[in-house]
């Protein structure tokens, strides 16, 4: 559970950074003249929290196979899209007019979701490199060789 929470926390901070970038790009594209108050600073954090909820709720102690992991990731991403779209557009009545924005946000969520996993993988790549170096030292020491 501890490892899962650490992974989720790292994912949260990467998400918040990427959401901020996505809001900047989508805002410039759809509503470039819109002005915000200080509450705008809270939105990336709120979306980051919403995005973390499915991951926290869907935690399983079971070791999943590659196929199960991919299915779970797809379900998790779909849930995040539904939650964020509901949070952002749920209060509006003119939904058909908002379709382009909804599609833009959905695509952004997919891109952010993939990027979060990509950055997580990059961090794991660095960890794996350190582990391999430690392994070589361990093997050398265990086989009686000097460092």
């Amino acid at each position: 559970m501890k490892e899962h929470l650490q992974t989720q926390l790292a994912g949260f901070f990467i998400s918040v950074t990427l959401i901020t970038a996505a809001m900047f790009i989508l805002g410039l594209f759809f509503q470039p003249d819109l002005r915000f108050g200080y509450e705008a600073f809270a939105y990336p954090l709120i979306y980051g929290v919403i995005g973390s909820v499915p991951g926290l709720l869907m935690y399983s102690k079971k070791e999943l196979t590659l196929k199960q992991t991919l299915i779970r990731e797809f379900i998790q991403m779909s849930l995040i899209i539904v939650l964020i779209i509901t949070f952002m557009f749920g209060r509006f009545k003119n939904i058909p007019e908002l379709i382009p924005q909804i599609i833009g946000v959905s695509v952004s969520i997919v891109i952010i979701y993939v990027l979060v996993h990509f950055f997580g993988w990059l961090m794991d790549l660095k960890t794996a490199k350190v582990m391999t170096e430690d392994l070589k030292r361990f093997q050398q020491k265990a086989s009686g060789g000097s460092e």
């Binding site: 899962h4 794991d124 960890t127 391999t132 392994l135 093997q139």
Partner: protein, 148 residues
């Protein structure tokens, strides 16, 4: 046959060298004996029991109430449970890397990231076994200079 025993310094790696005209059954027997001194496990294959030297083992896996011992090109079955092996092998350069696998740390070629915070060990025969998230901190600690 002349036998020479030479004392070497503590910092040097211990070795046994056999000088022979050809590598025949007699030499193989001596090698098997020497390797057995490093520890053996008993495994069965096609109803025959074999002594498997620990350094030859790549990993041990539990699958559906059965335990299998994997070597470079061979696989043996064992009647012992995985936790029994864990108790014996933890001090012999083996480590538990998931609920169902104990790996020989000396047979890992490299470690790679896998999906979902897991890592995979690439073994010397090219096979890959998964280190599950739960065991990653223990493996890191072990490799960092924990018990050898």
């Amino acid at each position: 046959m002349e036998i020479t025993v030479k004392k070497i310094g503590e910092s040097e790696k211990e070795y046994i060298e056999i000088g022979c005209h050809r590598k025949d059954e007699r030499v193989d027997e001596i090698v098997r004996f020497i390797r057995s001194r490093e520890g053996i496990l008993k495994g069965t294959k096609e109803d025959r029991q074999y002594n498997i030297p620990l350094p030859d083992i790549l990993y041990i896996e539990a699958v559906d109430e059965k335990t299998f011992i994997y070597l470079q090109n061979d696989c043996y079955e064992s009647g012992r449970r995985l936790y029994e092996f864990e108790g014996v092998l933890i001090s012999r350069n083996f480590a538990r890397i998931s609920k169902s696998v104990i790996v020989n740390l000396m047979k890992i070629d490299s470690i790679r990231p896998s999906l979902n915070g897991r890592f995979s060990c690439v073994l010397t025969n090219g096979e890959q076994v998964i280190i599950s998230r739960k065991y990653v901190p223990d493996i890191k600690e072990r490799l960092k200079g924990g018990s050898v």
